[in-house]
């Protein structure tokens, strides 16, 4: 029997040309909009050699910016981890009044421009704000200080963990928890031994995303920080200052460090997914 030229083609699907065109387009798009800028960051950072690159990084102000960024992430991520788990637990497992209001509130930081988020804090805690004068009398400074930066970051990264967990927990339902309770488990045991293991992968994704955003946030932080060098500058702010001063090598050096942190986050996620692929698949069943 002569070979049927159609037999190699899948019965359902596009022709080879269409397929190549579509895949090519996707790759081209990714290269142009993601890979190219990333490459540009690193090449610019190293444009004047490793020495200049290191100098940009080890500048005391830069080091202070790195330290502040890590501190802020270290505060904001655990806070939003706890809040995110609590909120999704409440929303997914219980029926109560005002549930949709809570859902809408969780989405608020996503829907509001980060600049507005920053301004809200300035209006609240700034010197001309409603609580500002009182806070000043107590000797507490929030705006143009580290607490303001932390608050703005917490606000902006608020939805990441909850948004990741709510659909997952809703899909899993409450049967497992009920089973645990009937078997005599306390609320805490149920959470620790049943709920938490069921959501751990979603939780990890949420935390990674939350962390990436906490370190990279610009808009809201920019409004509340006051850009005080070596004091309230986070890495993204520091990059901007250096750039505005035409100190391109230093700007891109810090930017490349920020990009590297993001890449490490992605790599960690991919590695975990690969390592625990079977468990993730089992958890979805």
């Amino acid at each position: 029997m002569p070979a049927d030229p159609h037999s190699r083609r899948p019965a359902v699907g596009e022709g080879p040309l269409t397929r190549v065109a579509l895949i090519g387009l996707a790759i081209l798009f990714l290269a142009a909009f993601l890979a190219l800028p990333l490459a540009a960051v690193f090449s610019q950072a190293l444009a004047k050699g490793v020495g200049a690159f290191m100098k940009g990084l080890t500048d005391p102000d830069a080091l202070q910016a790195v330290k502040l960024t890590l501190t802020v992430a270290l505060i904001a991520v655990p806070l939003n981890l706890v809040f995110g788990v609590a909120a999704s637990w409440a929303i997914a497992k219980f029926q109560f009044q005002g549930k949709s209001l809570l859902l809408a509130l969780i989405d608020l930081p996503f829907s509001v421009s980060p600049v507005i988020s920053g301004l809200v804090y300035v209006l609240l805690f700034g010197l001309h704000g409603s609580l500002g004068p009182w806070l000043r009398d107590q000797g507490v400074q929030i705006i143009f200080a580290v607490p303001g930066v932390v608050l703005a970051t917490v606000f902006v990264t608020f939805p990441f963990v909850a948004r990741e967990l709510i659909p997952l927990m809703q899909e899993q339902g409450v049967e497992d928890e009920e089973a645990a309770i009937v078997l005599g488990a306390s609320g805490w045991q149920t959470f620790r031994l049943v709920t938490l293991p069921n959501i751990r992968w979603g939780l990890l994704y949420g935390v990674l995303l939350c962390n990436a955003r906490a370190m990279g946030e610009f808009g809201a932080v920019s409004v509340v920080s006051g850009h005080i060098r070596g004091k309230t500058n986070t890495m993204p702010l520091h990059v901007e200052i250096l750039y505005n001063e035409y100190n391109f090598v230093a700007a891109f050096a810090v930017a490349s460090l920020l990009a590297l942190l993001a890449l490490v986050t992605l790599a960690a996620k991919a590695a975990l997914e690969w390592r625990f692929a079977d468990q993730i698949a089992a958890a979805k069943r």
């Binding site: 309770i181 078997l183 005599g184 049943v194 958890a283």
Partner: protein, 354 residues
């Protein structure tokens, strides 16, 4: 353990799941809660387990009110419809869960927990799968893990929500027998929920028939099957022919001929005559007309696969189903299009709904 349920009510929004239900569950019996979906049977089971609160009424275990006893302190074994096995734990850890979460003072030593779990896994014939995860098991195996897990805490009551609902027919029959033996060996009070009348009638000591949040009838399988309380129970417990007739001066009649009726005939006027297919008697139609007091019908279909033959008939424009033995069928030599006489051994009459 005996369970007394008194006037239990439960509503979800505008929906009345239970409208004042009272029931006595005897110690050591295997009780079926039977009803269509939405009849409140699962809600009742969950209230007994403490997973839902009753809006009103009370549930007591051996005379003790359970209102202040949380689900975790009730010592009930609950088998969920979809098993709710902990997917990140092995079969062994699933079964051990109830023992490991006990308060420190009551918790057995790890060695005793091992012994007890091994024992349970042997009992449900799953020792060889102890290190597997639930996703690696078949439906029947998961079901047995769920049972072993529920039994690990030595419950006084075993509650099962549609225990065989998610299994295929063959596995279902095997597990049914196995569960019956298990119940008898364990000396436990068991209540299971089902919408499958065959399952309820075959497995249970007593059957509770529910509809629209009410208990319609309680009795042994024979009682509810032979003397159903109303047309709903009659209908729900098996195949039935519903024929439009009349009650005229205390006699039920179908096409003018009187029908032999068990129990009350009921009010005068239009009535529904209920006959089970195996109570329909078929006979050879004589050449010279139909004998007095009998009906004649034409055969429209014969299903002769299995031990019992089913014959579909056309009785003056009404569809009628009869069940008879294969021998009887060949004696009558019925085939599609042939005529036969029809009589009813037992029938019940219920008033026709307006």
């Amino acid at each position: 353990m005996a369970i007394e349920i008194r006037n239990v009510e439960k509503t979800f929004g505008a929906f009345t799941a239970l409208g004042g239900v009272s029931l006595d569950v005897r110690s050591g019996e295997l009780l079926a809660l039977l009803g269509p979906s939405g009849s409140g049977k699962t809600t009742l089971l969950r209230i007994i387990a403490g997973l839902d609160h009753a809006d009103a009424g009370e549930v007591s275990f051996d005379g003790q009110d359970t209102r202040d006893r949380a689900a975790r302190d009730r010592q009930v074994g609950f088998v969920f419809q979809h098993y709710a096995l902990f997917r990140h734990m092995t079969v062994f850890d699933n079964v051990a869960f109830g023992l490991r979460v006990k308060r420190k003072a009551e918790r057995p030593a790890e060695m005793d927990i091992r012994r007890r779990v091994d024992q349970l896994l042997t009992m449900v014939q799953l020792s060889h799968l102890a290190t597997r995860y639930p996703s690696q098991l078949s439906g029947g195996q998961r079901q047995r893990v769920a049972l072993a897990r529920a039994l690990a805490i030595e419950p006084k009551v075993l509650l099962l929500d549609e225990p065989f609902g998610a299994l295929d027919a063959k596995v279902r029959k095997d597990l049914r027998k196995w569960l019956r033996h298990l119940h008898d060996d364990m000396n436990i009070t068991s209540i299971f929920v089902t919408h499958d009348q065959e399952e309820a009638l075959e497995l249970a000591d007593r059957v509770v028939v529910m509809n629209h949040g009410q208990i319609i009838q309680v009795g042994t399988p024979t009682e509810v099957y032979d003397t159903p309380a109303d047309s709903f129970v009659f209908d729900f417990l098996g195949g039935v022919n519903r024929l439009n007739g009349v009650v005229d001066r205390g006699v039920a009649r179908l096409d003018g001929h009187p029908v032999r009726v068990d129990g009350e005939v009921g009010a005068e006027g239009p009535a529904l005559i209920y006959v089970r297919p195996h109570q329909v008697e078929l006979g050879v139609a004589p050449a010279d007309g139909v004998p007095e007091g009998k009906w004649s019908a034409r055969v429209s279909m014969v299903h002769a696969a299995g031990p019992v033959a089913r014959v579909e008939l056309d009785l003056a424009g009404r569809a009628l189903e009869a069940q008879l033995s294969r021998d009887r069928l060949s004696d009558l030599a019925l085939e599609v299009g042939s005529w036969c006489t029809v009589d009813f051994r037992h029938a019940r009459v219920f008033p026709a709904k307006a």
